[in-house]
C-alpha cells in the first residue's frame, strides 16, 4: 500500500507548491525593492508569467505516475486528481492576476499577488491532502489570504464589510468542521483518511454518531463550495469584494472545496454512501433552486453571478451525489468548464465595471454597439453557464445529468433540468440588455490595459475548446475521478 518514495522524487512531486512559495517570495522582494517606482504593472506580469512557468514545469516534471504514491509521511498523495486540480488552480490564479491588472486599486500592490499565490498554494495542498491535519492546514492556508483579499480595497466600505462577513462565516464553519475532524480521530484513532474508512467499518460506531460527524464535516465543505444552506455569505461577499477576487472565490476556491469533498466522501465514507449521497443530493437540489430563483430578481450583475454560482455548485453536486466514477468525472469536467467560464464572466464585469463605474445590469445597455468583442465574450460566458452548445457548460451538464440517470436518480436530473431552464431565462435577460438596449454612451470606446484581453481570449478559447473538443479533457477528468476512487 505505501510505496516508499525517495526524497528527491518527493520534492519533485510538490514542484507546484515549491514554485508558488518561491514566486511569492520573489514578488515580496520585488515589491519592497521597487516601492519608489511609479509604474509597477510589471508585478502582475511577473506573477502571471511565473504561474505559467510553474504550470508548464509541473506538467513536465511533476506528472503523477500510473499508480498513485503517498508522500511526505502520508500527508499528501501524488495522483491524477491532485495534479489536475493543482493545474486548475494555477491557471485560475494566472487568469485572475491578468484580470486584476485592470483594476487601479489593485494592480500596483505586491501584497495582492502574494496573498493570491499563498491561497493558491493552500488549494494545491487541499487537492492532494490525505490526512486530516494536512487538510485542515491547507484549508486555512487557502482561506486566510482570501479573507484579506476580500477586504483588499479598504477605502470601499462594501469591501470591508464583505471581508468581515466572509471572515466570520469562514471561521465559524471551519471551527465546526474541525470539531467533526476531532470526532473522526476519536472514533478511529487515525487522521489518515484512508485509514479512517477502515476504522469506521471495523469499529461498531452508532449510526447517529457517524451522521453527526458527516454533518459537521459537510458544513465546512459546503461553506467552501457555497452550497445551500451555507451560501449566505456568497452574494454579499461577491458583490463587495474586488471583482477579480470574487471571480477567484467563485471558481478556484470552489473547485478546491469540491476536490476535498470528493476525496473525503469517496475515500473516508464509502461505507456510508447511501446516507451521504442523499444529503448531497438534497444540498444539490436546494442549491439549484435557491441560487436560480434568487438570481431571477437581481439587478446587479455581480450578485446575479453570485446566485448563479450557488446554483452551479448545485449542478456539480449532482455529479458527486451519483457516487460513481462517471459522476465524479462529470463533476471534475464541470469544474474545469466552470472555471474558465466564470472567470471570463467576472473578468468582463471587472473591465466593464471600471469603464462604466457600475455593476448594475442596466449599465450594460448598448455594450454590443460599444464593444462587440466584449459582448460576444459575455454571450459565450453566460450561455456556457446556461449549458448551451457549443460552449463548455453543456458537456458538463450532460455528464452530471447522465450520472444521475445512470444511478436511477431520475428526479435529480429532472430537478437539474427544471433549473437549467430557470437559469437560461436570467442569463438571456442579461444578454437582451447587452444586445438590444441602447445607451447614450454607446459611441464611446472602451479603453484599458492589455492584460485582461490576454486573459479573456484564453478564457474564451477554453470555453469553446471544452465545449467542442471534449475528448482530451474528458480523459483527464476520468483519470482524476479514478484517482479519487482508487485507494
Amino acid at each position: 500500500m505505501t510505496t516508499t518514495v525517495e526524497i528527491g522524487p518527493m520534492l519533485l512531486a510538490i514542484l507546484p507548491e515549491i514554485g508558488l512559495v518561491l514566486l511569492a517570495a520573489l514578488i515580496l522582494v520585488l515589491d519592497l525593492v521597487t516601492r519608489a517606482r511609479t509604474n509597477r504593472n510589471f508585478l502582475g506580469w511577473i506573477t502571471a508569467t511565473g504561474l505559467v512557468v510553474i504550470g508548464v514545469l509541473s506538467a513536465v516534471f511533476a506528472q503523477p505516475g500510473a499508480t498513485p504514491a503517498v508522500i511526505w509521511g502520508g500527508m499528501l498523495r501524488l495522483d491524477n486528481a491532485g495534479f489536475l486540480f493543482s493545474m486548475l488552480f494555477i491557471s485560475g490564479a494566472a487568469l485572475t492576476v491578468l484580470f486584476a491588472m485592470e483594476s487601479e486599486s489593485i494592480r500596483e500592490r505586491g501584497e495582492f499577488y502574494i496573498l493570491l499565490l499563498v491561497s493558491t498554494l493552500g488549494m494545491c495542498l487541499m487537492a492532494s491532502a490525505t490526512d486530516l491535519v494536512m487538510l485542515y492546514l491547507a484549508i486555512e492556508t487557502t482561506s486566510i489570504p482570501l479573507y484579506a483579499l476580500a477586504v483588499f480595497v479598504t477605502v470601499d466600505q462594501k469591501s470591508v464589510e464583505s471581508g468581515i462577513k466572509y471572515l466570520l462565516f469562514g471561521a465559524m464553519s471551519s471551527a465546526v468542521m474541525l470539531f467533526g475532524f476531532s470526532f473522526l480521530y476519536g472514533f478511529t484513532g487515525t487522521t489518515n483518511i484512508s485509514n479512517i474508512a477502515q476504522g469506521l467499518s471495523s469499529a461498531s460506531i452508532p449510526l447517529v454518531a457517524v451522521l453527526a460527524v458527516l454533518a459537521l464535516v459537510l458544513v465546512g465543505f459546503a461553506f467552501k463550495i457555497s452550497a445551500v444552506p451555507f451560501h449566505f455569505w456568497a452574494p454579499d461577499v461577491y458583490e463587495g469584494s474586488p471583482t477579480p477576487v470574487a471571480g477567484f472565490l467563485s471558481t478556484a476556491s470552489k473547485a478546491a472545496g469540491f476536490a476535498v469533498l470528493l476525496r473525503v466522501m469517496f475515500v473516508a465514507f464509502p461505507g456510508y454512501s447511501s446516507i451521504w449521497t442523499i444529503i448531497v443530493a438534497i444540498m444539490a437540489t436546494a442549491s439549484m433552486f435557491v441560487g436560480n430563483l434568487l438570481a431571477l430578481t437581481q439587478k446587479n450583475l455581480k450578485r446575479l453571478l453570485a446566485y448563479s454560482s450557488i446554483a452551479q455548485a448545485g449542478y456539480i453536486l449532482i455529479g458527486v451525489a451519483a457516487d460513481t466514477q462517471f459522476g465524479a468525472s462529470g463533476a471534475v469536467y464541470y469544474l474545469m468548464a466552470y472555471l474558465v467560464t466564470n472567470l471570463a464572466a467576472f473578468g468582463i464585469v471587472t473591465v466593464v465595471g471600471r469603464v462604466i463605474g457600475s455593476d448594475e445590469i442596466s449599465a450594460y445597455a448598448g455594450l454590443n454597439r460599444r464593444s462587440p468583442g466584449l459582448a460576444l465574450a459575455l454571450l459565450a460566458a453566460l450561455l456556457s453557464l446556461g449549458g448551451i452548445q457549443p460552449f463548455a457548460g453543456f458537456f458538463g451538464k450532460l455528464l452530471v445529468f447522465g450520472a444521475a440517470i445512470q444511478q436511477g436518480m431520475l428526479w435529480l436530473a429532472l430537478v437539474g433540468i427544471l433549473n437549467s431552464i430557470i437559469g437560461l431565462y436570467y442569463y438571456l435577460t442579461v444578454l437582451k440588455v447587452v444586445y438590444t438596449y441602447r445607451s447614450e454612451e454607446e459611441a464611446r470606446p472602451m479603453l484599458s490595459v492589455p492584460g485582461w484581453k490576454v486573459a479573456l481570449v484564453l478564457c474564451l478559447v477554453g470555453i469553446v475548446t471544452l465545449g467542442v473538443v471534449m475528448a482530451p479533457f474528458y480523459n483527464l477528468s476520468t483519470a482524476a475521478a479514478t484517482a479519487f476512487g482508487v485507494y
Binding site: 454590443n368 454597439r369 462587440p372 460576444l376 454571450l379 450561455l383 448551451i388 452548445q389 457549443p390 453543456f394 450532460l398 445529468f401 447522465g402 440517470i405 445512470q406 431520475l410 436530473a413 429532472l414 433540468i417 437549467s420 431552464i421 437560461l424 431565462y425 438571456l428 435577460t429 444578454l431 437582451k432 444586445y435 438590444t436 471534449m470 475528448a471 474528458y474 480523459n475 476520468t478
Partner: protein
Amino acid sequence: MLPFLSLIIFIPMAAGIIILLLPAERREWIRRTALAAVVLDLLLSAWVYATYNIAAGGYQFLEQLPWVPALGISYHVGVDGISTPLVLMAGVVVFCGVLISWNVQERPREFFAFLMFLASSVFGVFSSLDLFMLFFFFELAVFPKYLMIVMYGWPKTREYGGMKLTLYLFIGSVVALIGALAIYFGSGKYTFDLLELAKAGFNVEFQKLWFPFVFLGFAILGGIFPFHSWAPDGHVAAPTAISMLLAGVEMKVGAFAALRVGIELLPEGARSWAWLILILATINIVYGAFIAMIQSDFKYVIGFSSVSHMGLVLLGFATLNEKGLLGSGMQMFSHGVMTACFFAVVGMVYDRAHTREITKLGCFFKKMPWAAVGFIVAGLVSMGMPGFSGFNAEFPIFMGAWQATPKLPDLLGGGQISGAVVAIIAIMGVVITAAYILLVARRVFFGDLPQEYSEVSDVTVFDKLAIGLLSAIMIGLGWLPGMMAPMVQSGVKSILAILGGA
C-alpha cells in the same frame, strides 16, 4: 469523394466566423460572404439530392470521425431518403433567406453571422447519425435564434416572443436530452451512434416509458399541441429571414428529430403512444386552422397556419404506415418551401406598408405582382390543390390516417381509434385553410388600394428571384411528384422495417 455533408454543415459556420471578424462598416463584404456561403450550400445540397442512390437506399454520404471515444461519441453524418430532401429544402430556404435580407440596414454583421450559424445548425441536425451530435447541432441554434429575434424582430413583441420561443424550445430539448441519456445507458452499449442504438433492442416497457420524453421533447420544436404557442408568437416577433427559417426549417428539425430518435429508436414506444400523437396532431390541424382564420394580423395568420400544417406532418408520423410516413416526408419538404414563401411575402408587404393589419391593406397585386403570385401559389399549396406540392403531400397523409388503427391504452378502455374519423376531421382542417387563405389573399392583394399606399414600390430583383425559386419548386413538385416520392419512399421503407412491417 468530397465530404459533401461536412462541407454543407461547416461552410456556413466558417462564413459566420469570417463575417464576425470583418469590420462592421464593410456591409458589401459581409453580405457577399453570406451569399457565397449559401450559394455553395445550395449547390452542394442539390448535388447530394441529385446523386443520392435511391435504388441502394439507406444512409449515404457517410463520414465518421471519433469525437469523444471514451463515451462513444463520434462525428457521424449521413443522409437517407427522409433527410436528403430536408437538406435540400434547408439549402433552398437559407438561400432565399439571404436574398430577401439583402438590404438589412441595422447591424448587418451580426445579422448575417447569426443567420449562418443557424444554417449550420439545421444542416447538422438533418445529417446527424450520432445522438450527441444531433443534440449539439440542435441547440447550436439557440443563441442565434434568440439574439436575432430580440435584435431585429418586431419591436412590439420581440422580447416576449424571443424569450418564449427560446425557453419552450430549451425545455423541449432538455426533456429530449433526458430521454436520450436514458437510451444511452439503457442500451448497455455506451454509444451515441444512432445506427448502433437502432440495433439495441430495448424492451417494450423501457420504450413505453421513454418514448414520450424523446418524442414530445423534440415535437415541441415541431409545434405539437398544446406546446405550440411559441410558434406563432416567435414567428411574428422574428425578422423575415428568421421567420422563414423558423417555420420553414426549424419546425422540420423538431419533427425530423422526433422521427429519427423517437420513432426509429423506440418503435414499440411509438406504437403504444400513437393514439396520443394522433389526437394531438388532429387538434393541431383543426385548432391551428381555426385560430388562423380569426387573426387580424397578416403574419399571425401564417404563424398559425404553420401550426396547422405541422399537425399534418405529425399525423403522418402517428399513422406509422407507409402512406402516412411518405406523406409526412413530402409535407416536411413542401411545407418548408411554402411557409418560407409565405413569410417572405409577408415581410415584403410589411416593409412597404408598415402594417400587417389585414383590414388596412388592399390591392397589393398592382404594386407587387410577384409577391402576390408567390402568395397565391403558396396559398394553393397550403390548401392542398392538385397540381401543387401540397396535394402530393397531404393526400397520402389522409390515406394513411384512414388506414391507421392505433390502439388506446388499457387504461382508456383499450379500444381502437377509427382512422377514418381522424382523416375526416383532419380534412376539415384543409377546408378551413382554404377559407382563411382565400380571405387573406383577397383582402391584401385585391380590392381597393388604400390611399396611403399609392407610392409603394415593387419588390427588388433578389426578392423576385427568391419568390420565383420557391414557387417553381412548389409547382414543379406538384406536377412531377416522382422527383421526390421515390426517394422518400426508400427512407420510409427502412422505417417500416424497424416498425416490423406494420
